[in-house]
């Protein structure tokens, strides 16, 4: 792109009608050219109005759930609980098992439903890091196969196998149950009836974890009886 021409790219830029190389060159130019920045701001505002020429269409409701659940799962200011790992009768000392079995299953948790591989991979990495935590304790489940794993500072994960089919448009939701109230701790789905889920909420001593089946997107309070629950965290 010649120097003289670059100022003329404001309109194609505002319409997203530049190719990648042109965009890069022009954005470089924009940093130092106030006149072009002003012009782009004005043209962009007009270009955005063009969106109204397309007939408005309500997207499928699942899209809303998917976006909101993904956003919540990514939220930086909530310290998520990290998973460890288990398959049905697997030994408790899970780090090696985690490395060996982990990836297929990790991708099956929470984020898989969202069609968001990036988030799933991030979650896996976090999960593996916590799985290496030497202080994680296993707590048995009632009503399901697997375990709740809790570290000394309360981070927790559910490792589940032989889960039931939740039904169309339904998901699993984890709850931290303490003092007679249940707080939502993450929505997830299963792959091959198994799931490994980093809880989005700490599990304090004395609290239990339960799982219910809820509508896609999850609920703020459980709307059905738990399909499984854990013993109390130490």
């Amino acid at each position: 792109m010649e120097r003289d021409d670059i100022h003329e790219l404001t309109a194609p830029y505002a319409l997203d009608a530049l190719d990648e190389h042109e965009v890069r060159a022009f954005e470089e130019h924009l940093r130092g050219c106030e006149r072009c920045r002003d012009e782009v701001a004005m043209l962009r505002a007009t270009a955005a109005s063009l969106a109204h020429d397309a007939p408005a269409v309500a997207p499928p409701p699942e899209l809303r759930s998917r976006i909101l659940v993904t956003a919540r799962a990514e939220r930086g200011n909530v310290v998520p609980l990290r998973p460890r790992w288990a398959v049905p009768a697997a030994a408790a000392a899970a780090v090696a098992a985690c490395a060996a079995l982990g990836f297929g299953l990790w991708a099956a948790t929470l984020d898989h439903t969202l069609g968001n591989r990036e988030a799933a991979l991030r979650s896996q990495a976090r999960a593996l890091a916590v799985a290496a935590s030497p202080d994680a304790r296993r707590i048995a489940l009632t009503g399901g196969h697997g375990a709740l794993v809790v570290t000394h500072d309360g981070r927790a994960a559910l490792l589940l196998a032989d889960l039931p089919e939740p039904g169309a448009g339904k998901v699993f939701e984890a709850w931290v149950v303490s003092g007679g109230s249940a707080a939502p701790a993450g929505v997830f789905s299963a792959k091959d009836r198994a799931a490994a889920v980093a809880l989005e909420r700490d599990v304090p001593a004395g609290a239990k974890v339960a799982v219910t089946i809820e509508r896609a997107g999850g609920a703020q309070q459980p709307t059905s009886a738990p399909i499984l629950s854990s013993g109390s965290a130490a």
Binding site: A11, D19, R37, A48, H52, A54, V57, I67, T70
Partner: protein, 199 residues
């Protein structure tokens, strides 16, 4: 849905500020204000429901992740949001090369036209449509092929058999004229501020 009552009085910009602090209820409200417009735009460009969902999802997750960097001095939140949706839809249409196998974008005046529109959205659409109609044909063509067709300026130059400079100037003159026409047709200041789109 109940979030709508809590946030109804807030501007889009205020919602974005809350989203920057990871307020997911504010994020849901922002989504509810723009979902129809965003999805309608993405469908028009991509002509595929599943791809349009991808575009809207990517754009909204970008909003969630980068709201802290949003600069209201530079653009209203509405423009920022629609720009993100548009850019992502255009990326996808180019990636999937859908344009090359399909017809030029055309006015669809079909039966499903605007079935999900609120009165407000319908008024906005009429206004933009009227303004577009008043543009000289060549300017309208360049703008529509770029914005809804996802063509780059170079592709358009080739397709229309015109020098690149001509295409650029049609885009610029067209947008500038469109701005005047839209300004004339807007009685109020910021038509979106504080508006809630209920279903």
């Amino acid at each position: 849905m109940s979030a709508g009552n809590v946030f109804a009085h807030l501007s889009d910009e205020a919602l974005v500020a809350l989203v920057a602090r990871s307020d997911d209820d504010a994020f849901a409200e922002l989504y509810d204000r723009y979902d129809r417009l965003a999805y309608g735009l993405a469908r028009r460009i991509l002509r595929d429901g599943a791809l349009a969902e991808d575009a809207v999802q990517d754009a909204f997750l970008t909003i969630w992740r980068t709201a802290a960097k949003f600069n209201v001095e530079r653009a209203p939140a509405r423009v920022w949001i629609l720009t993100l949706v548009h850019r992502r839809a255009v990326d996808l249409v180019r990636h999937h090369e859908r344009r090359r196998t399909e017809q030029l974008p055309q006015r669809e005046e079909k039966g499903d036209d605007g079935a999900d529109e609120t009165v407000w959205l319908r008024l906005q659409r009429d206004r933009v449509r009227d303004a577009l109609r008043q543009l000289p044909d060549q300017q309208r063509e360049a703008i529509e092929l770029a914005y809804f067709g996802g063509f780059t300026q170079s592709e358009l130059a080739e397709r229309l058999g015109q020098p690149l400079g001509t295409i650029k100037s049609r885009m610029f003159s067209g947008l500038a004229r469109l701005r005047e026409l839209l300004d004339d047709a807007t009685p109020e200041g910021d038509p979106w501020s504080g508006t809630t789109f209920t279903s």
